[in-house]
Each structure stands twice: as C-alpha cells, then as structure tokens.
Amino acid sequence: MSGFPHRHLLGIEALEPSDIQTILDTAASLKEILDRPIKKVPTLRGKTIVNLFYEASTRTRSSFEVAERVLSADSLSIATATSSATKGETLLDTVQNLEAMKPDMIILRHQSSGSPHFLARHVRPAIVNAGDGAHEHPTQALLDALTLREKKGRLKGLRVAIVGDILHSRVARSNLWLLSKMGADVVLCGPPTLLPPGIDALASVTHRIDEAVEGADAIMMLRIQRERMSGGYFSSTREFHIRFGLTEARAKRAKKDVVILHPGPMNRGVEIASEVADGPYSVILDQVTNGVAVRMAVLYLLLGGASEAES
C-alpha cells in the first residue's frame, strides 16, 4: 500500500504540503515510464475506472485516459453527449447505475462546484475531481507545479503571477492553494470585476499587469471564456488585451528565465499574444506530459497500486 492518507482527491485545499510533495515525487518517478518503448506497467491491472465528463474537455479527459492505459487499468469514458445525463437523469442516479460495474474510481468533470464532494458522500468508489464548476481543478495545479518544479528546481520562494479571469477559474483556485501551501509568492491580476471578494487572503492583488509580472519566475495566464465577453465583466476583448493581456513587452518585465503557463485552450489576442504563446517561455508541451504523469501518480496513490509498479 502507498500509505497516501486520502481516499479521494476532491481539491488541493484539503491536502497537506507533504501530500503534495508525495504526489509530485511519485509523478516525477512514474514519468520515466512514458519514455520507455513499451509504455505500459501492470500496476492497476484489475482496477476499473470511469471517466465521467459532463463538460467537453478533450485535454483533461485524454490525459486521464492515457494515464489509465499506461497503468493497465480498465477504463470507461462517458461524455455528456453520449450519457443519459442529457435525458434528465440526475448525477447521483447516473453514478449509482455505474456502480453496478463495481468501479474502483470515478473521475468526475462537472459544472457544479462541490459535485465531487456530493458524490463522495453518496457512492462507494474513490472520487477524483477533474474540475468542478469554479471551485477546483486539482490535477491541473499539480501538473503546473510539477512543470514549475522541473524548470525552477523548487516551488518555495518563487514569484508567480496569475492573470485573467480569477472569478470563474477553478485553475486559479487550485493553483492558489497549492502555491501558497508550498511557499510560493503569488500575485493575482485582473480587472476588479473578475477578482472575487476574499481572494486576497492567499495572495496579493493588483489591477496592473505590468506590476504583476515584474520580476516574476512564472506567469500563469487564465483563459477568458467566450460567455464572459458578453457578461459585462469588461468592455471589449480589444481593451482586455491592451490592459490585461500578456504581450511580448510585458513578458520581458519578468525574470529572463520566466515560465509561461496556460491551462489551454488559448484565446490568442485576448489574454495572450501569439508571439508569447509561441515564444521560448512557453512550456505547453511539458504541461501535456506532466499532466499524464501527475494523473498516473494520483491514480496510483489513491488506488494503492501493487509494489510491482516499477517492474
């Protein structure tokens, strides 16, 4: 047994720094499997995992699917379009029906904040939160942390700017928890309409992006969702880009070796300029590989993989 002290992964908030350390260390060591000619180990043979996605997310879902395949778990993916959810069946009914298959774990992506907590109370399998509403997206924060740790050698003491739509972002919340637990210095930036009350408890806040990125070790750009553009949160995408977007000139205010993270998919010319997105600071490809590695680590730690993991 792994001895990981949690049955579910519902959010970063509930984790201790030592838990985060364990997940990152495990991910770092499992990552090597992805470089092997045969990318498959028998660790989770006989375990059944259901990927239940109520929101479209090719990126996150395929990352979990790859992690499951590498660890030899039996897995099944259900996306809203093909599920009975569209017929008005409740989340709980859907999951209780799936329980007939005796899954060991359910990976849930859902638009309602707290839906993984709700499931964890009412069903048997372990629950992994793959993004719930505007609440948390823990594996995204973990993969960002793994990437930062690889590039910078540490998390403690790093200056990280998180820029954009903080209000609606689960990625921002999970990263804020993780980075502050691990001793990084976080500065949040966005228009006041997109900065929710109380968010300054774990970070400093500014409305000037130049200030936010000044001397930063890392800049995390959040996606501006299309529906926000008509929601009265800011006047136009043009003005947003000018006032809050990450341009080449702004990126230069950060440290020379700054790392720029984006959870994707990007809106070029809104939150991020193309020359930055395609520039030398971008670590998008590392994020993809590390996404698989942290998800392997999470599955392994929660399902208590057998010790032949490294064989």
């Binding site: 409740t90 989340l91 309602s112 509403g133 609440h135």
Partner: protein, 427 residues
C-alpha cells in the same frame, strides 16, 4: 374546550406579566388567569416548573398544500407546528396554484378546519400568480380570510408595483410582507457572496441586494402610509434601514429566522456543500449575523419566524447549485432560540416569548398573542431544562431538510394548546 393549566410561571408580554399563576381556558377562550383556580370540568395540566406563554405564532410557513403535497400537507405541517410549540401558522401563498384568489383561500381554510391541529392564517398573493404584473384582488382575499399579502418566493421586482400594493392594501388594512431581493444582483446565486463563496466557487448573493430593497420598501411605505413587513431579514444593512425607518415613524416591522440568527455561510464550507445549508436569503457572514441578533435584542426586529420550507429528499440530494432553497424550521425554532439565544444571555426569555407571540399577533392584527381573559385559548408551555437531540427522522413534517440534525439542545415546548385543546404534549 376546557383546560386548567396549573402552577406554571405565566409569562405574558402583552400585559407585562411574569408570575406563578394558573390559567383557565373555558369554551376555547382564556377565562381567568389567577391564583388557585379551580377546574370546572375538562382537563388539568400540571405546569409546575414550566413556563406558560401566549400561543406562539409563526408568520412565515410554507405548508405546500395545495399542489406540493409530496413536500408537506396542511395536516403534516400543522402537526409539525404543534410539535414545535406553535399554535398558529401564517401560510405563505406560493402554493400550486398560488393563493391569489378567494376560492383558493377558502379551500385552504376548509382543509385546515378539517385536518389542521393548529390555526392556519392564509397569506394572499400581492400579484396574480405572484407574477409581478397585476395586483391580486385584495378585498376578496381579505374577506375570504387572508391576513396579509406577499409574493414571497417570487419577490416584487417592480418598485411601481410595490408602491401600488402598499397603497391599495390600506383600503383593506392588509400588511404587505416582502421578501426583499434585488434580482439583478442575485441571478444564479447558490450562497452568500463573500470569501466563503469565493473559495467554494459558488455564485454569490451580495447582502446589499437585500438591503437595497428593504430601503426601497421603507421609503415606499413612508410615502404611501402603507404597512410593510420585512420577511426573513438577514443583513446588517437591512437592520439599520428598519431601525432608521421606525425612528422616523414609518409603518415597518421585521422578522428574522433562527438560522440567520445562529448560523453563518462558513457552514457551507464546513459541511462540504451540504444542501441543508442552502436557503434564500442565504446564510450570511458573521458580522451580518451579529447585527441581526443585535436588532432582535434591541427591538428593531419584531418577530422570530421560521420560513419553514419542507422539500422532498430528491430536491435536496443533488449538486449544491441545483438544490432547492429552504429548510424545515417549525420543530426546531423555539428550542434553538431557547438554547442558543436565551441561555447564553443574548436575549431575555420575555423578549423571546414576545417575538414569538405578542409581536407577530400585533404585526398582522391577529387574535392571540396574549393571555388576557376573553382571548383565544392558545397557550405554549415551555420546559427550559428539557434536554433533547434534534432527530429529523422523527419530525412530524414531511421535510427532513435541516442543518440542525443531531444538535443537542436544552429547552423546548412541551405542550401546545389550541383553543383549549391539547394539540401536542411531549412525553
């Protein structure tokens, strides 16, 4: 019906009475309050060591019948009221159909006469179907038995409509009860706006969305001379508005619920999105909560009301933002206030009894709320030392949706007497 309630401490705020006395009820009315009274037939209830109060009246109950008998009926809702110490409930009109006409009011009263164990005072709608478009027929509603008008559950958004309602209601001496919420600021909310909602990623209802409408209603009551009663007030701003309104003589009264007096939005986080913490208005932050307690203690808030809102398990056993708003309150309200407000000294027992009996009767001009001879024989008997654990599975209400399950409380109603008949007695 006759009954002699013997040897209790009689606490009647309507007459500033607090003394060890007997209460005799004959033919359904209080006939005497005095020493060493003798029963002339009928039951005797030994109230030694207990507190004998005018029957408690809940100004804000959702009985759900007609239309949602799966959630509650007049029979189960009034049994729940009796078990909690209430001798009367004011039934909110957001039934299906909405109680916006005399025929529906009469049907509710007929059902209450047949199956209710406590008095039911119907509240009519302000607008037809509570749609906010056309005024309901206040005269007909009053004549059929409505004691107030309200669009609770679908608050009056239009200031013009609220103004007309306050004016028109004067002709029939009706109080307008308003659920104060500016919908433009609360769209899609799941809880109070603030740091807790931020961390939980839930959409917030800012306290000011309530305060703005309370201010509006007070100004409208002022220019119209109408009577407005603020339902389930929950913000410091609203308390302040009511306090200032009263000071300048506006005809405004207000109620607060036990949950807004005792709980904060932190509970949503502590319970990890438990939907029994979800209601409208939502649980607020601690500064608002304390202001509401202070407003009750200084008399700005007249009444304690439950906003009893039973829901089926299916309506609550869903994702937090999908869950129905509201909790059941009739069977816990009195005990919670005794244990958490009176015991710690935040409120005097006399004040609590007034907020549950004399004041609600006065706010809507209802009979009762007093033990003066000649008044209805409605009595609530309290045992301040009775210890019990809240067990939702044993509620008389059909609803189990409460955040107070398993709370250990000291003090509760042990007998509820309606028109001289014992409607509930604790074993």
């Amino acid at each position: 019906m006759n009954i002699l309630i013997k040897g209790g401490r009689v606490l009647d705020p309507s007459r500033n009475l607090d003394a060890d006395l007997d209460v005799l009820i004959e033919d359904g009315r209080v006939s005497q309050v005095g020493e060493k009274l003798k029963a002339r037939g009928g039951e005797t209830l030994d109230a030694a060591g207990l507190v004998v109060c005018p029957g408690f009246i809940d100004l804000h109950t959702h009985l759900r019948e007609p239309g949602r008998e799966d959630k509650e009926t007049i029979a189960t809702g009034t049994r729940s009221a009796a078990a909690g110490g209430f001798t009367a409930v004011c039934a909110m009109p957001n039934t299906e159909p909405v109680n916006d006409s005399a025929g529906i009011t009469r049907a509710i009263l007929e059902r209450a006469a047949a199956e209710g164990v406590v008095r039911v005072w119907p509240i009519g709608a302000i607008t037809k179907g509570s749609k906010g478009q056309e005024l309901a027929e206040f005269g007909d509603l009053r004549e059929a038995g409505c004691v107030a008008v309200s669009d609770d559950g679908r608050p009056v958004a239009s200031s013009r409509m609220m103004r007309r309602a306050l004016e028109y209601a004067k002709a029939f001496d009706l109080t307008v009860i308003d659920h104060c919420e500016e919908p433009g600021l609360t769209e899609g909310f799941a809880m109070n706006e603030g740091p807790v909602a931020t961390w939980l990623g839930l959409r917030g209802y800012p306290p000011v969305a309530e305060t703005i409408v309370v201010e509006r209603d007070i100004h409208l009551a002022e220019i119209t001379g109408g009577k407005v009663h603020i339902a389930h007030l929950s913000t410091a701003g609203a308390v302040d508005a009511v306090r200032r309104g009263k000071a300048r003589g506006v005809r405004v009264t207000a109620e607060a619920t036990p949950h807004h007096l005792l709980l904060t939005d932190q509970l949503v986080r502590d319970t990890e999105y438990d939907t029994s913490t979800k209601m409208n208005p939502p649980l607020r932050g601690d500064a608002d909560r304390q202001a509401v307690v202070a407003g009750l203690a200084d008399g700005t808030i007249d009444c304690i009301a439950t906003d009893h809102a039973p829901h089926s398990v299916d309506d609550k056993k869903v994702e937090y933002d999908q869950a129905a708003n509201g909790i059941v309150g009739l069977e816990t309200a009195v005990a919670l206030c005794l244990d958490r407000l009176v015991r710690p000294g935040l409120l005097e027992l006399r004040q609590l009894v007034a907020a549950l009996s004399t004041h609600p009767a006065r706010v809507l001009g209802l009979p009762g709320g007093t033990l003066k001879p000649g008044s209805p024989g409605d009595v609530t008997v309290l045992d301040l030392e009775r210890r019990f654990k809240v067990n939702p599975e044993r509620f008389e209400s059909k609803g189990r949706n409460t955040p107070f399950g398993s709370w250990q409380l000291t003090g509760r109603a042990v007998a509820t007497i309606v028109g001289g008949r014992v409607a509930f007695q604790a074993r």
